[in-house]
Symmetry: C2
Subunit: 253 residues, 2 copies
């Protein structure tokens, strides 16, 4: 069976503001007949006559991926949209998991992943250059993995002196996750380690809170927050009343 | 002293193809009077009448950052350009290191970091979704850090079951780096761990080589290569003669 002229784009819309969109993403959104995704992301795509929009809840990634693959196999030009980068804790992994376990025809489809600016990059850019040395990204939501796996990764990241970006620090299923994560980090890292909460980056209510591992107020962490934990070489540049810059030394000892 | 109307953009051009450029980056390039950077990156910026272009060698990041800060302080609109994302092993860290140690007036400058699609994201998108779970990025060039630091990070990343992206796997100063790195990884990870060499991503000569930790041919690694080491949950989808897909399970045990 041929997949006809169908195509599946897996698209990253970046962190909110349209200035983050790439040319390739914009061209694909203009071409796609079907836009599929979690409702707040689909709402960011400019409406176009003749375009079908399918929204779903955030917890049904695999169903959404299968629907998109079926439509593309039937000859539609489909775009699955994510905020940030689709490859970073977003829809791309669900799409390929569906391909791996689904209709063999899906392997022959024209699937194109178009990267977007991730929340981590946008937050880093606002701060200065915190991920300017070796870094890692960890999702501390335990929807998809046991807490023991998360705890081991946090401990290894701290022992490796990585700059750490924590995604999903306030998941509904584990509101205590950020407190447990900080307890692990405090067991390894210095109390003066720089900690930044980057909230709603790229949106009008954007806010940056710089602190340290000992004093960070975890009650400020919500679902819109990306948490960045500095490494030994991470530095803060005070600027009076303005938000301080945060960067990491390129040289380390 | 006032910084006048000057401004410093620190810009990411993405991995090569113009399709990766964001709107914000394009607007800043059109506005800037001075374009400063490593020659191959400056060459990617479309020439515009009245625009000054300053190119330099890749090893002089701090000098380049100071020149850019001085010009912006004197009232120029300056853009420092990097390939990929300026915040990921590129110019942003050098700029803020210069601010931290330089003229106090530089702290009052209007500095705007504009993220770009990193080599890691572009490679991941071409492959499928290899960084769809917790991941880290490590530069194995020892220009700026001792090998013991790199070795510890590799070991911690492997013990944490992260997907690992290796930057600068063939630095001139340490051509054996990739062999030493693989020796460390082989001491911790299964021989069947998926390994991908993503070469010249976003350029016409782009090439992807999928293998595993035991069999990967390290003589294929050069300065244009990004190396991705899978985690336990990383999977390969065979597609006959076509390049296989590589993705990481969102769920892990």
């Amino acid at each position: 069976m041929s997949a006809g002229q169908g195509r599946l784009y897996v698209i990253g819309l970046g962190p909110g503001d349209a200035g983050y969109l790439t040319h390739d993403v914009e061209a694909a959104l203009a071409e796609a007949g079907d836009i599929i995704g979690y409702a707040p992301y689909v709402a960011r795509v400019p409406e176009r006559e003749g375009q079908t929009r399918l929204t779903s809840d955030n917890r049904v990634e695999l169903d959404r991926a299968r629907e998109a693959l079926s439509r593309a196999t039937a000859g539609r030009i489909v775009a699955v949209v994510s905020g940030g980068d689709p490859g970073v804790f977003a829809m791309a992994a669900a799409v390929f998991e569906a391909v791996d376990n689904g209709d063999p025809a899906w392997r022959e489809l024209d699937i194109r992943v178009l990267p977007g600016i991730s929340a981590m990059q946008a937050a880093a850019a606002r701060l200065g250059a915190p991920i300017g040395q070796d870094f890692c990204a960890i999702s501390i939501s335990d929807n998809l993995k046991p807490w023991t796996t998360i705890a081991n990764r946090l401990e290894c990241a701290a022992r490796g002196d990585f700059v750490i970006a924590l995604y999903n620090p306030a998941s509904r299923s584990r509101p205590r996750g950020i407190r447990d994560a900080f307890a692990i980090l405090r067991g390894v890292l210095s109390p003066s380690t720089i900690v930044v909460f980057a909230k709603s980056i790229g949106r009008p209510e954007e806010r940056i809170i710089a602190s340290n591992l000992a004093e960070a107020d975890l009650s400020l962490v919500d679902m819109s927050t990306l948490v960045i934990i500095g490494a030994q070489g991470t530095r803060l540049i005070e600027r009076g009343a303005a938000t301080p810059y945060v960067y990491s030394l390129r040289k380390s000892s």
